[in-house]
Structures are given as C-alpha cells and as structure tokens.
Symmetry: C2
DNA sequence: GATAGTTGTAATATAACATATTACAACTAA
DNA sequence: TTAGTTGTAATATGTTATATTACAACTATC
C-alpha cells in the first residue's frame, strides 16, 4: 500500500504555482492539466494546503499563490496538510482483532505499536529536512538543461510550450 | 493510506510461534485464532516468511517453527518478506500522468522521486535496527506483569488461557 | 450591477486493492 | 490407510482513493 498521491500532487501544484506565476492565470483547471489529474482533486488538495497556510486562493478571479517562501515549506508540512497518513491509525496497518483470550494477542499491541510509531517518526523527521525549494531548484535546472540541449542540437525553434 | 497489515500479522505470527513452541501445535488455524485473521491469510504470510528463510513449515503434520534466532530477524526483513511496499512503485504514490507538454510536468518527476526514495530509505534503515526479539521480550514482560498483577490482587486462580 | 469565470463542496460513480472465504489437491505423521 | 494440515487458486466482499458531475457562493471586470 502506498501514501496517497495527494502528496505528490501537492508538491507538483506548489512547484507549478511558483513556476508559472506571472505567466499564466494559475487556476485549478490549469494545474489539473499540468499534473494530469482532475480539477476537483486539485481544488481539494489546494483547499488542504490553504488550511495549512501554505497557499492562498481567490474565488471568482481564480488563481492560487504561495503564502510562504519555498524554502520554508517542508515535505512534512505538505505531508501533514494533505493527511497523507491517518492521524490515529498511523503509517502501519494493524490487524484489528488480536484475540484477547490469547496472552500474545492481548499484549503484543503495545510493544509493536511503540516501535512502529518510532519508525514512522524517523520518516517524518526526515521529511522535515526536505523543502519544496529543493525540488523546484532541481526542476528548474532540468528545464534549463532541456532547452540548452534543444539549442545545442540546433534542431529548430519548435520549442514545445504548455497550452 | 497504510502499509499492509500483513506486516503486523507477520510480527504477531513470529512472536506467537516463539511463545507457544512446545506448548501447542502451532498451525495456521491456531495462529489465525491468536491474530484474529483468516487462516488462509496466515498461510499466505507464513509462505512469504518461508521464502525469506525466516520460518519453516511442514505439510501434513502442520506447525511452523523459526529458522533464525529472534534477534537476527529485523523489521526490515519482515517488511521485505511480506512485500509491504511495491518494489517498483515505492512508498509514495505518484500521480501517473503529469503532462509531457508542460515543462514542470515532464521534469518534476526525477527531482521529486529521488527525494521520496531517500525518505523511504531512511525509514527502511530504521527498520533494520529493530528486531522481533525486542517485541518478544517486551511482550513476555507484559504477560508476566499481567499474571503478577493477578496474583497480587489475590483474586483467584481463574487465569485465562488461550483455547 | 450584470456578466463571465472561478472556487468550494457535496453527492455519486468508478477503479484499485486488501482481506476474507471457499474449495481442494498435495502432502505427511501416526 | 487415515486424519489432519499446507499451499494455492478462484472468487467474494469490503474499503479506500480518485474521478466525475453538478451547482451554489463568490469576485473581478466591463
């Protein structure tokens, strides 16, 4: 099982909001086109990012913009914002009915649960060390290299642009 | 989304195999009763643990036993054995159709994927540090405390036993 | 202030996947 | 030979994520 794609969609959205700001009206339709998902999903994810104070949106006119500098938005912030993992249940799925009539069944949960929580914590701490800025910078670099190659190959000027 | 309960079931099974060895015939039915899951699930999980060289089973007579000492079985071993996370796809679910006509859409995957893989790696390294022995020891301690309390309270001798 | 375009959200549908269940052939200890 | 068990396939059920449809609330702009 995997952590919801809302997480990677959120990172994509934030990156795109930053990249296209000023160039396009960055609304849910536009972002949905970039990420290849449904506009309603984008609105849902953006709604969650808004509640977390990461983006700002406007009805009517449309368009989203960032409320925090990229290097202050960690993977953990996003992970929490989009409810990547159920708060109560945690990352690991427990089998729910260990037999209370069995000594192992009624006593393992505590020992196991504590250790799984610790593993999850380790992962989350690691996510605090990564920011969207890291992704944006590398993505921008990749885009530049891409166009550099196009020029290098002296092919022609049909540089593809997003619609 | 969560990591499959096969993982916690596997830890439970290994713990129970150790705890009840010699006392009961530890077959899939018995273990299913302890963990509160279907016997076929137990057989499936045990099958995966067998392929990983962690347990041994016998047809006919039934019963499973451990092939490795508890302190040599790490959470990571089990996590890998029961395919907790899809080998190719990883822990994080990527939105699969980022728009190739969009510079962000066709360039973000690499930067984002590398960082998610690193996070996953951190988690897995942490899982290598925990062994089933840790869980078994604490569970045994809990069981002892439990019966100590029963004696302490001088209630009576109706110490519950697994069926 | 009417209009056109957008967000926020509910309701529902579809798809994907995990777990449960049924069934039975292969096997083994006694 | 028998009784009991494993291994596994096939199928059912349940749960969750994502997609889709629909529309009221809202806002910039003409």
């Amino acid at each position: 099982m995997q952590i919801t794609s809302r997480f990677t969609i959120a990172v994509h959205i934030i990156t795109a909001i930053d990249y296209f700001k000023g160039m396009y009206r960055v609304n849910s339709e536009f972002l949905a086109g970039s990420a290849g998902v449904n506009p309603v999903i984008v609105r849902t994810v953006i709604g969650m990012l808004r509640e977390a104070g990461i983006v700002e949106t406007r009805r009517g006119a449309g368009g989203a913009e960032l409320k925090k500098p990229l290097d202050k938005i960690t993977f953990y912030d996003i992970y929490m914002a989009v409810d990547s993992v159920n708060e109560e249940e945690g990352l690991f799925h427990f089998h729910e009915q260990p037999n209370p009539d069995c000594p192992v069944g009624r006593n393992i949960h505590k020992a196991l649960g504590a250790r799984l929580k610790a593993v999850q914590k380790t992962m989350e701490e690691e996510m605090k060390k990564v920011t969207v800025d890291d992704v944006v910078k590398e993505t921008r670099r990749a885009i530049m290299e891409e166009s550099a190659q196009t020029i290098e190959s002296e092919s022609n000027a049909d540089i593809r642009e997003e619609k």
